[in-house]
């Protein structure tokens, strides 16, 4: 168990809802859910979730901490916002899904082999290093996410799409070697450092 995880377990013993309210983005909305089911039924990926949002919210209230935080479910959210616009209580479901995933990641409880988790990490690294996403290198990294052999297969499969994008000037082949990024990288780094500092301070509060 990570230190932070152990600390939060002690602090919020038997009250996972409170823990979520304090630490998860928009977490204080969870108690507003009236269990109607519209979100779960509206999610285009819903059939693939082990626990759809409605069920996750009930599990939070039922104190099922381990099951929720180690669940793959919220990692399936594609941010289509279908649930959010239909929820009769205007619960910001999409944001809570990402908040839960992020919180589980911070605690070191997120399942390791999830493609969406891997994608998030690759994407963040790609974006934060220069301030602009480098699409060429991002695409290549994603192809090779599951090993060399599969990467080659994927790259060949996507070749016609890639060529089409080149022709339509939607992709810069030299981006791999000379990606410009944003002008003030130092400023960007300062912003990100500050954000990290705030987040760590917030987390530290619960470690006492």
């Amino acid at each position: 168990m990570s230190d932070m995880n152990a600390a939060t377990v002690t602090r919020y013993r038997d009250d996972f809802l409170k823990e979520v309210e304090a630490n998860v983005e928009e977490g204080d909305w969870v108690k507003m859910c009236m269990q109607c089911g519209v979100c779960s039924g509206s999610c285009p990926l819903g059939p693939h979730w082990e626990h759809p949002p409605q069920e996750l919210f009930m599990m939070i209230r039922a104190n099922k901490r381990e099951e929720v935080l180690s669940s793959a479910s919220m990692w399936y959210c594609t941010s289509c916002y279908n649930c959010l616009v239909r929820c009769p209580r205007e619960v910001p479901i999409t944001h809570i899904m990402h908040g839960l995933a992020h919180y589980a990641e911070r605690l070191g409880l997120a399942p390791k082999e999830l493609p969406t988790r891997k994608f998030s990490k690759i994407f963040w690294k790609n974006l934060s290093s220069s301030g602009h996403a480098n699409e060429t290198s991002l695409a290549l990294k994603l192809y090779f996410m599951n090993g060399f052999g599969e990467g080659i297969k994927k790259a060949i499969e996507m070749l016609p799409v890639g060529l089409g994008m080149l022709r339509a000037k939607r992709m810069n082949p030299f981006g791999l070697f000379a990606h410009k990024g944003c002008t003030d990288k130092k400023g960007l780094n300062a912003i990100l450092d500050k954000a990290r500092e705030i987040e760590l301070a917030k987390a530290a509060k619960y470690q006492a």
Partner: protein, 428 residues
């Protein structure tokens, strides 16, 4: 010119539904002078569109008849139909009111023989049936309408149909020269009882009302049951006019929803439970009903009614708010998609008729009342403001509670005019 005698000891009741009628009759039977202003061509309001009343399953016409008898017997009550209040100025005990009277083009010579209706050719969507059927350009809104006087649709004026109607009338009741007029009067107290209107189901996009032929509202369903209604009293699938086999009711369609109406409309749970008894009455064991719900709100004594419906093996309950509906274009069959709350099972259930339990919103939102009212955030008019809200204008109510509420409003109004009377007799 219509003349109306009124003083600041007169009570004005706006809206002639069951609530307005009740308030007006209670006050008039206490000896007060009352003027009842109704926007439509006849009194009775929404209950005249219902087949039966929960919880007793009696016919609304029965209660209406009693009220009409009281009304005809009372000299203190003056009813103005096709009339709308356009301004209320002043304060309790001393209001000045303007009432706009729309031309009916039929005077009180009318014997309701119906010759004018036979004579005209033009037909229009029948608003009484929510446009499910057509009516003639000269018409009686419904069989029991009071006053029993025909109406000439203003769209006929200037067409040959208008002259045909006039020529056909043996009672000399048709007056094509009638024009809109506004009368002003003084009144002491105002009761606002303009009732409710069904929430526009078309706004609930995922349910497809208006796009899918076999998705109807609960009020449209009520109209199907009327033997003189658009389907001669038969429950049918609008797509082919045939009997359905497997009906779904969707609760809270547009109510308890921050995207639509925030309030619980209170009556729609009971309305759907009641409507499953219509299904049983017409089809015995041949047709099933399924109610999709968040929670069933059948309160206090009405709970027995809920238990009886639960005991019906042909009625199924699924705890889930349906997420969306899809339609098969050829068969017009419907699939209801969602996840239930008792086990989180995902379903896609076929039904061939869907009834949306749409709720009620105030027909005149408080902000649009042309006078000093206190409104809440849902647009209902407070019962204890300067103007007294009554019935469904003040909150979502069933008939029983609307009538109690209207009686309370009558009492409030009587207190105001009694105070006026006391001051005036002192002043003399």
């Amino acid at each position: 010119m219509t003349d109306v005698v009124a003083t600041n000891q007169t009570i004005l009741v706006v809206g002639g539904g069951i609530s307005g009628l009740t308030a007006a009759l209670e006050a008039a039977e206490c000896g007060k002078q009352v003027i009842l202003v109704e926007k439509g061509p006849s009194v009775g309001g929404r209950v005249t569109q219902l087949y039966k009343y929960f919880p007793k399953l009696c016919f609304p016409t029965c209660g209406l008849e009693i009220n009409l008898r009281r009304l005809k017997a009372n000299r203190n009550l003056r009813v103005l139909t096709m009339a709308e209040v356009t301004a209320i100025d002043g304060e309790a005990g001393d209001y000045r009111v303007a009432v706009k009277l729309a031309p009916r083009h039929v005077n009180d010579n009318c014997t309701a023989c119906g010759d004018c209706a036979d004579a005209v050719e033009a037909e229009f969507d029948n608003e009484f049936d929510f446009g499910m059927g057509q009516r003639k350009g000269a018409y009686l809104p419904f069989n029991m309408a009071w006053p029993q006087r025909y109406v000439l649709d203003p769209r006929l004026i200037g067409t040959p149909d208008a002259d045909k109607a006039k020529a056909a009338c043996k009672a000399d009741a048709i007056d094509l020269d009638m024009v809109e007029e506004t009368v002003e009067m003084k009144v002491g107290a105002v009761i606002w009882a303009t009732g409710w209107k069904p929430y526009d189901a078309g706004k609930i996009q995922p349910y497809g009302h208006g796009r899918f032929t076999n998705v109807v509202t609960n009020m449209e369903f009520e109209r199907m049951l009327d033997p003189f209604g658009p389907t001669d009293g038969k429950i049918v699938r609008p797509s082919d006019g045939k009997a359905p086999t497997n009906i779904a009711f969707i609760q809270c369609a547009g109510s308890r929803d921050r995207n639509h109406l925030e309030h619980c409309s209170r009556i729609c749970c009971m309305a759907s439970l009641k409507q499953t008894t219509y299904v049983r009455e017409q089809f015995a064991d041949d047709v099933t009903s399924t109610i999709y719900y968040i929670d069933i709100r059948a309160i206090d004594r009405i709970d027995d009614f809920y238990r009886d419906v639960q005991a019906d093996p042909n009625v199924k309950f699924i705890k889930s708010k349906v997420a969306n509906i899809t339609e098969d274009r050829d068969s017009h069959g419907l699939l209801l998609h969602g996840v239930d709350t008792e086990g989180y099972h995902r379903y896609s259930n076929p039904h061939d008729l869907v009834v949306l339990a749409t709720g009620m919103e105030p027909s005149v939102p408080a902000g649009q009342v042309p006078g000093p009212v206190t409104g809440d955030e849902h647009g209902f008019v407070a019962a204890d403001g300067a103007i007294f809200g009554a019935g469904c204008a003040s909150e979502a109510l069933d008939v029983n509670r609307a009538v109690q509420n209207a009686t309370a409003a009558a009492l409030r109004a009587i207190q105001v005019v009694n105070r006026v009377a006391a001051t005036e007799s002192r002043d003399v």
